[in-house]
Amino acid sequence: MGVGQVAIKRGINAIFLICLVTIINFFLFRVMPGDPIAMMTSPSITAEVRAILLQKFGLDKPLHIQFIKYIEQLLQGNLGMSFVYQRPVVDLIAERLPNTVLLLLSSYIITVILSIVLGLVAAWKRGDKIDISLIIFSLWMHSMPIFWLGGLLLLFFSIQLNIFPVIGISTPWLEHENTLSYIADVAYHLFLPMMTLGIGNIGGMFLITRNSLLDVFSEDYIVTAKAIGLSSRTILFQNVLRNAMLPLVTVILMRLGFIIGGAVTTETVFSWPGVGLLIYRAVMHEDYPLLQGAFLIITISAVLANYVAEIVYGYLDPRVRYE
């Protein structure tokens, strides 16, 4: 089967998957015992107001009618009105998505670079003290809750040293003279959340890098390369790293899809105006349309990343044959 055919076949799979999750999303939030009205208002509303609000948001209708309406709207690209914000969900997500992508991509770059560098060092110094301490460090980071790490960084850098801001993506009351100063302001605000997420996610990626490198190290052609007297540097960069890159690229791409939903805690701790914060609020208030919208985005990004990883893998490694 050619790569083109595979792309189409997998594409259909992906679309099917997205549809399935969309349907599950709709029912999952609704079958749970809940009362979105109570969550969006102060507890002191009267029964009458409650009934009116239920009607306003279409929650008084039977589930299947709500579902048909939802699908109808979805096909028109309308994700509905958020209960809490009383604004179209599409707008809300479109506003927040760039912020999330900025945070996630920048932190992901940190994670990838650090993991590869540290992974190389660890694999090269296998069994050495450096290797052991790096493994311990990465496992420690892996097991540390992100919100805790974020809190610690905030306490140290913002409260103790007072060199980084605690909140937000930019300084609201600053009038920026030009784009450059605005970018600098955003970068200043980005630093702590980026480092938190970047370092916090290092664990898994580091271990994968190290192990893939070690696998390659034990290959016959590396032994051969050593035997013919190639320098360590040449072996490391030309032979080992290149071959170890294959599984790494797949993992890097696949994880990219999942991190969109993975920034909820970081965004909450740093008051970062992204999709994660939106999800947090939507969960707190049982804002069905917003939850559905946000989860649709997560689903699409996860499935898409997988899809891309799969196709790219085929290109990168000619040995991979699709059946």
Binding site: S44, T46, R50, V166, S271, N306
Partner: protein
């Protein structure tokens, strides 16, 4: 036709004459420099459409952007605002508001009676949350005899509640802007777009998830606010709000009792506390056994160890609550009702008398008919509530009641408590929405006992219901007082709930950069619905060299729970009295009152010693462009009071319970989706 000036309004005017600090003519002339950005936190984006607003959370913004006919002032009294006066017809079937004539919207158009009529008509037509109450329902139609007169014609006689419960909650919008909007619930003017109000601040922009920006309305009809800009910055987590306050990214933050110690030592920051109305209670489920028995309700009402709760759970930042109305309601509180002080022996005796004795020798009391009495107390998972419930259930167990704690959160739990009423008793809290004294009392009536209603206790008493209706239609304060006294008496005798405590409104503010803070009821300086406070706030500027001094007059000893009067006199070096400045009285570092000095330089405050022992008592003036700062300190030794405390008091807003169940489930869903994706990929 003889029209009666609304009596509370009159009372307010009299008070205004007596207490200079009452001033509602704000900023008529410029006294301070304009400038500065004031920054506060919000947990999420504010809604910007006052018409469809559903949450109290947004009221702060509306109060700044829009005007209301009537507002409540720093003493929590209704005062004229957009309406300069109002009167009821003799039969109570109509109420006429006279509007101020110089009010304009932010675009320069005058605010007229047409706009007022439209706002109410439109809200009623679309049944928006804040007009759906007994007073809103009473509106039959509205007429506008001239551009500055609005007459509400009512279908049944209305009383003072009409003004206090309804008119202080409805923000006047511009007719021409809204009349084309068919359904306000699906209306959104566009990203970052605001609407035209007539309030002291104008909308600038809203960045979703980041902040809302307002700027001073230069042409505000009551004078321009001194602040240039106001920011509400989105910070979802309370801990992060506190951090941002510490680093100066916020100028004010609301505090929990446990935060006070963290803020007290910080330079340039002060903590204010207020006697907030409202309370924490154990609501008994009056609908079903065993709590449909008044004897059991009464007996268990003696099991609330308030002093212990205040000391351990609230770290001293709370008052005991023994009455259904609290001191911020002043004279409306019936001082003669029976109260239920902590008394385990008495509780046991009452239980014995009522026949709740241990019949099967398992160590726990049983129903009088011998069947086992096993109870559960529900409480939200919020830390402070759970700890409170632990203390209360322990006392109940001490008298032989087999009661367990069920801490819950999440929709299932709230359904049980709010809609299905499937619980024995529930520990929770209430805060009133308005200053009308009958409001909280109306939360015990039969119509309110429906699912979703506020009478979760299910208390139902026909005499009480009738009194509630009378109260809503009563204009004469003396008669209203009688009715409310009687209602309070019924509640005290019937014990639909056991009253626990009321905690303080606690607010930390930046005093290094800003001055003009004034402790305001009900929830402290700059609490929601405090446009007066925001208009007085101004940049501090250089402090003048004119030296001043303060002399403090306070008793050297006090008794807990007994109010004492304290006063301070501020004079210049030469001994001339300093008039018209605010001095702050604090106990152990927390400011509990701000007093304005009169012509002899004297400011007074009343203080309730809460803890025993030596208390650092201080009065200070923080300094301004006119006068240098000064302070005076003393120590007051407070001893514990014997038995019955003074006018008791209650509580404050119940924090929205955090619900993580959904988060986990949602996480699980994501994992499933990923697993499926991986599975398909493998294939």
């Amino acid at each position: 036709m003889v029209k009666k000036l609304r009596t509370i309004g009159l009372l307010a005017t009299i008070l205004l004459l007596m207490v200079p600090s009452f001033g509602i003519t704000v900023n008529a002339e410029q006294k301070y420099e304009y400038g500065g950005e004031y920054k506060m936190a919000g947990t999420e984006d504010h809604q910007i459409l006052p018409i469809t607003n559903t949450a109290n959370y947004n009221l702060r913004i509306f109060a700044l952007m829009y005007d209301r006919l009537v507002i409540t002032d720093q003493n929590w009294q209704p005062v004229p605002w957009l309406a300069e006066s109002w009167e009821f017809s003799e039969d109570g079937l109509s109420v006429t508001f006279h509007l101020v004539q110089n009010a304009t919207f932010h675009d320069g158009d005058p605010v007229t009676s047409e706009d007022v009529k439209f706002t109410y008509d439109y809200s009623l037509e679309h049944k928006t949350p804040y007009v759906i109450n007994p007073d809103g329902d009473a509106i039959d139609h509205i007429t506008t005899p001239d551009p500055y007169t609005v007459v509400f014609h009512l279908s049944r006689p209305a009383g003072t509640s009409f003004v206090e419960r309804l008119c202080t909650r409805v923000f006047i919008v511009k007719k021409s802007e809204w009349e084309g909007v068919e359904d306000p619930f699906t209306y959104y003017p566009g990203v970052g777009t605001g609407l035209t109000g007539s309030g002291p601040f104008k909308f600038v922009k809203q960045e979703s998830g980041q902040y809302l920006e307002l700027e001073a309305n230069e042409d505000y009809w009551k004078g321009r606010p001194y602040i240039d800009k106001y920011f509400s910055i989105v910070i979802p987590q309370h801990d992060m709000q506190l951090m941002a306050f510490q680093t100066g990214e916020l100028d004010a933050v609301a505090l929990n009792p446990t935060d006070v110690a963290k803020v007290l030592g910080l330079p340039g920051k002060k903590v204010f506390k207020t006697e907030a109305p409202g309370f924490r209670e154990v609501s008994f489920n009056n609908r079903r056994p065993p709590f449909n028995d008044v004897n059991l309700r009464r007996a268990l009402s003696y099991c609330i160890d308030r002093d212990f709760l205040i000391e351990t759970v609230y770290l001293g930042f709370a008052y005991p609550n023994l009455r259904h109305l609290q001191p911020p309601y002043g004279d409306w509180v019936n001082p003669d009702i029976p109260v239920y002080l902590y008394n385990i022996t008495k509780a046991s005796e009452l239980l014995d008398e009522a026949g709740y004795i241990d019949q099967d020798d398992d160590g726990w009391r049983d129903y009088p008919d011998g069947s086992p009495l096993d109870l559960t107390m529900c409480v939200s998972t919020s830390d402070i509530y759970v700890r409170m419930a632990e203390v209360v259930t322990e006392s109940m167990q001490e008298v032989g009641i087999n009661i367990e704690l069920e801490a819950g959160s999440g929709p299932a739990f709230w359904n049980k408590v709010r809609l299905e009423f499937d619980y024995d008793c529930y520990l929770g809290g209430w805060t009133p929405d308005s200053s009308w004294p009958g409001e909280m009392l109306s939360w015990y009536t039969t119509p309110m006992a429906e699912p979703g209603g506020l009478n979760r206790r299910g208390f139902s008493n026909s005499t009480y219901d009738a009194l509630d209706l009378q109260a809503a239609a009563e204009q004469d304060p003396e008669k209203l007082k009688e009715i409310l006294y009687e209602m309070q008496m019924i509640l005290a005798e019937q014990c639909p709930n056991a009253l626990v405590i009321r905690n303080h409104g606690l607010m930390a503010v930046n005093v290094e950069k800003w001055e003009g803070y004034e402790n305001a009821l009900p929830f402290g300086p700059l609490s929601y619905l405090d446009e007066i406070g925001f208009m007085k706030l101004h940049l501090k500027g250089a402090i003048a060299a004119t030296q001043t001094q303060l002399s403090l007059t306070a008793p050297s000893t006090g008794t807990t729970d007994e109010r004492v009067s304290v006063s301070a006199t501020m004079t210049t070096e030469d001994g001339d009295p300093v008039e018209g400045v605010y001095v702050d009285f604090s106990a152990d570092g927390v400011i509990f009152a701000s007093g304005r000095t009169d012509s002899s330089g004297k400011a007074t405050a009343s203080w309730l010693p809460e803890t025993e022992g030596d208390i650092d008592f201080k009065v200070e003036y923080l300094g301004s462009a006119e006068y240098a700062s000064c302070e005076s300190e003393t120590k007051i030794t407070s001893v514990s009071a014997p038995a019955e405390p003074g006018p008791a008091e209650p509580e404050e807003p119940e924090p929205t319970p955090k619900d993580n169940t959904m988060l986990y489930l949602v996480g699980a869903l994501a994992v499933i989706a990923i697993a499926v994706a991986l599975y398909l990929r493998q294939k």
